[in-house]
């Protein structure tokens, strides 16, 4: 059963990684005062683009980059509508969630036509395979048998923490989410930072989506994001708007998911759906327990108008 635990942990990391990208995407968005519930959609388009490009170019890395680009492009719609036109952010997130997946499904169908067998793409190699290590030791697997993207995810968490707590730019960035007018009066380019946040958010969400098709599963199927975008939303609140907290939240969700898969095998008296519920129920319970003592950035969700009277 020791291997059970070991494999459980490996699965946890595997399942948490895409969530980390998506949650960071949401974190950057909300830190600049933009609540973007369109992550799910952004990830969908990123996932497809990543798949296509790595298929065509044969380079998963290129796929990831393309996914990021696609995420940015789609998120620019959100940016323009919510920042420039001051549209209601929640509403627009919804719009993205309906638009982007439809676009993805459409593109896939048009590109591959019909009746083809399920197209498979080469995944990004793990460090272990690159180094040609054969050992099957748990720690080797945990720390080396991961794709570069996993390391990137964790590095990003650290960078984000440093950015928001130690750098001037990060301080200004936070100010925009907290009190844009004040930020503007000391010469911070509020609109600029808000757009920047949308670029970062779009890129990370796109990468998170691309991860699914370039590092996780060899195939693309519609709806493969499977609600991860919304879990990310929860992770940011759960994680108290700090990258560290977000990481913990993602690992928690990943763990719940990994656990639920295994419980299905151990136990067959209970319908499998109950196990599939675990991550969602856990989210609700945890949020209910921690409550919402610390609200997020002050001005999140509110539009910012330059000349207002």
């Amino acid at each position: 059963m020791g291997s059970f635990i070991a494999n459980l942990l490996l699965a946890t990391v595997r399942m948490a990684s895409p969530l980390i990208f998506l949650s960071l995407a949401e974190l950057y968005s909300q830190r600049a005062g933009l609540v973007n519930i369109g992550i799910e959609g952004l990830a969908a388009i990123g996932s497809l683009t990543g798949f296509l490009v790595s298929l065509i170019s044969g380079s998963p890395l290129l796929g990831v980059l393309a996914g990021a680009l696609a995420g940015i492009l789609v998120n620019m719609i959100f940016a323009y509508a919510t920042i420039t036109l001051c549209a209601e952010q929640i509403v627009y997130g919804m719009a993205i969630n309906i638009f982007a997946p439809a676009l993805a499904a459409f593109t896939y169908r048009v590109y591959f036509g019909s009746g083809s067998e399920l197209v498979q793409v080469e995944l990004m190699g793990t460090l272990k395979s690159m180094l040609g290590i054969k050992s099957d030791n748990f720690f080797v697997n945990l720390f080396l048998d991961q794709t570069p993207m996993v390391y990137l995810a964790f590095v990003l968490v650290i960078l984000t923490a440093v950015y928001f707590t130690r750098t001037k730019a990060g301080l200004n960035y936070k100010a925009v989410g907290e009190y844009p007018k004040a930020a503007a009066t000391i010469g911070i380019n509020v609109i600029g930072i808000k757009y920047l946040s949308c670029v970062i958010c779009g890129a990370l969400a796109g990468i998170g989506g691309a991860y699914l098709t370039t590092c996780y599963s060899k195939t693309y199927v519609d709806g493969n994001v499977a609600g991860r975008g919304f879990i990310a939303l929860a992770a940011v609140i759960f994680g108290r708007w700090s990258s560290g907290g977000v990481l913990v939240a993602c690992l928690f969700f990943g763990f719940c998911d990994a656990l639920q898969i295994r419980l299905q095998l151990v136990n067959n008296t209970l319908p499998y759906q109950f196990f599939q519920m675990i991550p969602y129920v856990a989210t609700i319970v945890v949020l209910a327990i921690i409550g919402a003592k610390k609200a997020g950035p002050r001005a999140s969700g509110q539009p910012y108008r330059k000349e207002e009277r």
Binding site: A184, T185, I186, I188, N189, E307
Partner: protein
């Protein structure tokens, strides 16, 4: 930057015009500042002082007109440009990020120091030097939320100086300060002058204007009236020019508090230990037909007092009586049923539903009333509501394009009138009015005072909370002073001991 010798002009604004849609906020304004002087912008609320400064600071773009800094014509498109040109501004509503510390707020948006990381020690050293030079003491690691208003203002000034400004704009800086704190501020201003820096001082309080200014520019209705040197004209003269007509000081007859009590607080406490947002062992009574004025600087527990007296918060200790009965449940609705009316501190946040029409706001509390609906609210009588609204518009002289207009589009004065109409038509036994005239021009202020006095004479007990000392003196029959959540003293409204009171306001 080079310290200019006195008399050298550092800043000039020529023919500045700023339009909002169809409204002229500024019209052909001329204004200049010399090195090492305090130049006051004098004008009542809505005269266009703040707009002019926002134009100077690059927050607004002028519709017409030019700005010259040290003789150079400049186009200020953003605050950062203004900062680069050596212009600093302390806004009336502080621009401090509450979630951050003093230090973080000061270095926020810092462009001068190199590197991507924050070099705590170096920056802190610079700031400490500055604060010592100008006597602006501040604990850098304290979060803003824990600072008193005066301290927050010092942080704002530090912020400006840290960005190396030689023209500092102070927008209504004394509004929230005790006299002592104000004195402190004036000293700082003197130090700044000494350093050859210029201060643009915005105010409508004659006393301090005469005390600190070198030159005074009077604005009225968005236009320059004239610029005068200090000593050329008397206080009254200035006041008259500011308002544009002879101002005869109002003389309200003070009533004596003999009637039955409508509200009694008995040793009430709430968040005792919070100096700025708590109540500490407060006892007071309000009688019918009197106006009890609560004097004191903002943020000494007045807001809590008001919320308590209107049932929005419940006391932690002590008890309260409304009329003859002890209050057991503190909830706003219960108090409203007991004929308690409330003119809230923040008319936009708490007074009005901005996106609803004037008419809706007038009947906000009374839709279940027979006059406005059948079957206890099951069917609203739209017509009746509209007619009532028109009647109120007449009676309270509410200026709006139509009673269907969204109330957020009204001017502050008219918004306040809508609230006044709603609250007074309920013919209350107790009226709690918080800063009822804040930000209103003299005309509206006068109207509101008159109406409140009238209500008093109808037998309503009024509790007036105001940070405007003059207002308190003008209308109160009894004056209580609040400081750090406590009542410092009680004085008669008839020829009150002004010095004593202002000392009390400073906690002495």
């Amino acid at each position: 930057m080079a310290v200019g010798t006195p008399q050298t002009e550092v800043l000039r604004m020529e023919h500045i015009t700023k339009q909002f849609g169809s409204v002229y906020a500024n019209r052909d304004i001329n204004f200049d500042v010399r090195a090492g002087e305090v130049h006051t912008l004098l004008g009542e609320n809505g005269a266009g002082k703040s707009t002019l400064m926002n134009v100077l600071f690059g927050l607004y773009q002028p519709t017409e007109g030019d700005i010259y800094v040290r003789g150079q014509k400049v186009k200020i498109e953003s605050p950062s440009q203004a900062v680069k040109l050596g212009i600093g501004m302390v806004h009336q509503h502080f621009m401090l990020v509450e979630a951050m510390t003093v230090f973080e707020n000061i270095i926020l948006g810092d462009t001068r120091s190199k590197g991507i990381f924050i070099d705590q020690n170096a920056r802190k050293k610079e700031i400490t030097e500055l604060s010592e030079k100008y006597g602006l003491d501040a604990d850098l690691d304290q979060p803003i939320t824990e600072l008193a208003v005066g301290a927050q203002q010092r942080v704002e000034i530090l912020k400006a100086l840290y960005r190396g400004c030689d023209v500092l704009v102070l927008d209504e800086p004394t509004a929230a300060l005790t006299d002592q704190e104000a004195e402190g501020l004036f000293e700082i201003m003197n130090k700044l002058k000494g350093e050859g820096k210029s201060v643009i001082f915005i105010s409508h309080k004659m006393r301090e204007v005469l005390r600190v200014s070198d030159r005074i520019t009077i604005l009225r209705a968005g236009q320059t009236v004239e610029t005068v040197n200090i000593g050329e004209v008397s206080g009254e003269e200035l006041a008259n020019r500011m308002i544009g007509r002879e101002l005869k000081p109002s003389q309200y007859i003070k009533a004596d508090s003999s009637g039955e009590t409508v509200a009694v607080l008995d040793h009430v406490s709430y968040h005792k230990n919070s100096k700025h947002n708590g109540l500490n062992d407060i006892s007071l009574r309000v009688h019918r037909g009197e106006i009890v004025g609560i004097a004191g600087v903002d943020g000494n527990g007045q807001s809590q007092l008001a919320m308590l007296l209107t049932g929005n918060i419940a006391p932690e200790e002590g008890s309260m009586d409304l009329k003859e009965s002890k209050v057991v449940r503190f909830d706003p609705n219960g108090f409203i049923q007991e004929n308690v009316s409330h003119i809230p501190e923040d008319r936009n946040k708490a007074g009005l539903v901005g996106n609803m029409s004037v008419a809706d706001n007038l009947v906000l509390k009374t839709t279940r009333d027979k006059r406005f609906s059948d079957g206890n609210g099951l069917h609203l009588k739209k017509k009746a509501i509209r007619n009532y609204a028109l009647e109120m518009q007449e009676k309270y002289d509410i200026r709006c394009s139509s009673v269907d207009q969204e109330s957020r589009n009204l001017s502050g004065g008219n918004q306040q009138k809508v609230i006044l109409a709603r609250e007074l038509e309920a013919s209350p036994d107790l009226l709690v009015a918080v800063h009822p005239t804040r930000g209103l021009d003299i005309g509206a202020t006068r109207f509101i005072h008159d109406t409140v006095i009238m209500q008093r004479d109808l037998g309503c007990g009024v509790l007036l909370i105001s940070a405007d000392f003059d207002e308190i003196l003008e209308v109160s029959d009894r004056i209580l002073v609040m400081f750090e959540g406590r009542i410092m003293g009680e004085y008669s409204g008839k020829n009150p001991p002004i010095d004593e009171i202002s000392h009390a306001m400073a906690g002495k």
